[in-house]
Subunit: 320 residues, 2 copies
């Protein structure tokens, strides 16, 4: 398989600090997060990357006549995997998303039979494809303008034991379809395998919490990220956590939303215990008053929610 990786020199910021950003192209993608993946590239902690991603349907849908009658076996191509030197099981991998740029001037929204929240409603006309032209930071759905607000749908690391298709979200990340996984956020993953083995793809130009019809605006992107690892974190992670500008949010996926809520809240209580000195029950009560349970997606084979707490309520739980 061809690997096409090169480096570019970027001038970043007001002070024209020159930094090297390694480009990882989408010539090498995975459709499964497996424990024993081979890294396409090894980078150093603190390295900045530009990761090119394909749209979730590998470019197969270009017009509204391109209908998809079932979820393809290979979907959500994730570029990578990228090893981070020194990342060791038990560590935490930190992925800071600096920018997500669209690689196409249009995206696609799909309804597929047997997929999505209203698949059982007789008024749902599936398959259907809508192409959304994009111009000047807004996209057009029918005659409505929607602001472009990109996010990464699938992002994760090599799992502990089981392999997961890139359609599935789980403790390793994967198809989280979480709107907070966007520019300005840092996503933390448990490291299950040496190097962590990060891969990402399935970006959306826009998506509402829930992803109810089964997709957002699917699109290829160039993603600027900086990867780092937190050795010996003050608290070990069982599942991903996202740090936004204003909040810490635990993320959990499970067969039912109830189970996902329970896990995300349990994780949040643990962070509050660790960093804020509450006992478990007080942390639990506090989380009933402050922060919110939020829906990521309700359409994938496992369902994903997050539990937020404002940053002023929770010190960074990963460091002492």
């Amino acid at each position: 398989m061809m690997e096409y990786i090169y480096e570019r020199i970027y001038s970043i910021g007001r002070n024209s600090v020159t930094m090297t950003r390694t480009t990882v192209t989408d010539d090498h993608v995975i459709y499964e997060f497996a424990p024993d993946m081979d890294a396409v590239r090894t980078v150093q902690p603190g390295d900045s990357l530009e990761v090119h991603t394909r749209d979730s349907l590998d470019g197969d849908v270009q017009t509204e006549a391109d209908l998809v009658s079932e979820v393809p076996e290979e979907v959500n191509a994730a570029t990578g995997p990228i090893a981070v030197a020194g990342a060791t099981p038990g560590d935490v991998l930190a992925v800071t998303i600096e920018d997500i740029r669209l690689r196409e001037d249009r995206g696609r929204v799909l309804v597929m039979p047997g997929f999505g929240l209203q698949q059982g409603d007789e008024r749902t006309d599936a398959p259907r494809t809508r192409i959304t032209e994009i111009e000047d930071g807004s996209l057009r759905f029918n005659d409505r303008e929607i602001e472009v607000d990109p996010l990464i749908g699938t992002i994760g690391v090599a799992p502990a034991e089981t392999s997961y298709s890139t359609l599935v979200p789980h403790d390793h990340g994967g198809n989280l379809d979480t709107s907070d996984v966007s520019a300005g956020a840092t996503v933390y993953f448990p490291v299950f395998q040496p190097g962590g083995l990060l891969a990402m793809g399935d970006s959306k130009a826009a998506m509402a919490d829930g992803e109810v019809c089964g997709t957002g605006v699917e699109i290829g992107t160039e993603i600027d990220v900086t990867v780092d690892h937190v050795p010996d974190p003050a608290v070990s992670l069982d599942r991903p956590v996202v740090e936004t500008e204003t909040a810490w949010k635990t993320i959990a996926s499970a067969e039912t939303i109830e189970e996902a809520c329970e896990a995300a809240n349990r994780d949040l209580c643990r962070l509050l215990e660790r960093a804020e000195g509450f006992d478990f029950t007080d942390a639990y009560m506090f989380s009933s008053l402050v922060g919110d349970l939020e829906v990521s997606q309700v359409v994938d084979p496992l369902l994903t929610v997050r539990n937020a707490v404002p940053k002023e309520r929770l010190n960074n739980p990963l460091v002492e």
Copy 2:
């Protein structure tokens, strides 16, 4: 049962418009929304009321030594019911919440055995009560200050056929525990019985989306509302809808969150069809891009979610 209802003259607004606000005290409460309730009071469409509510535990919990070992049979006392003259099955009842004032200088947060998201976790120490002192618009949970942000937990109308305890949310409203049901919002209910028969209570001084531990900060309140009815609405409602400053949100409750999501989204698609001219499938796709699925509560006998769409995306669907 004693009814103590009186009227006060209020001076409201910059222009000192004098209006009459009818006070409905908490001497008459219900613990069940039934189809055949007797109104405690009949008001006219457009009337403004001040509704006094008890805390959800009827004042039984005043110190941290007051532990509650199971959810009481009578809980969430709802003041009313109040009939709105002329409201007829098929109409919509509109309840605009102008203000929610606390009647107490402290509230209570509870964990009860067999109730709440972490009831199965061995670290959950139940029963536990935390009293939160309130001063200058903030409440104290242990040593943390939390801004007071009151909401109405239980609000609804007489159901169509089945009676529901005030612990249960359903199509008539009831124990919705929805953070948007707060000052500035208008809640719309289907009218199932003549007069609508509105009742409300179970206010919280603060509550996060999810209400994970089973309660917010439970507290007695005085609620200023204006009630109105929309005869022959342009779209009939099967369930409550809330209009906030920025969004329309459908609200649905069901045995699983998945079912609640499906119903809330189906309702939203109907509103988008009706008011925006989308067909069902395009409305469904649009709702996957704009607005969010949101969690109200995941702890009551039925679970409640809402599906939002920004107001600039949806014209008032109730009027032509």
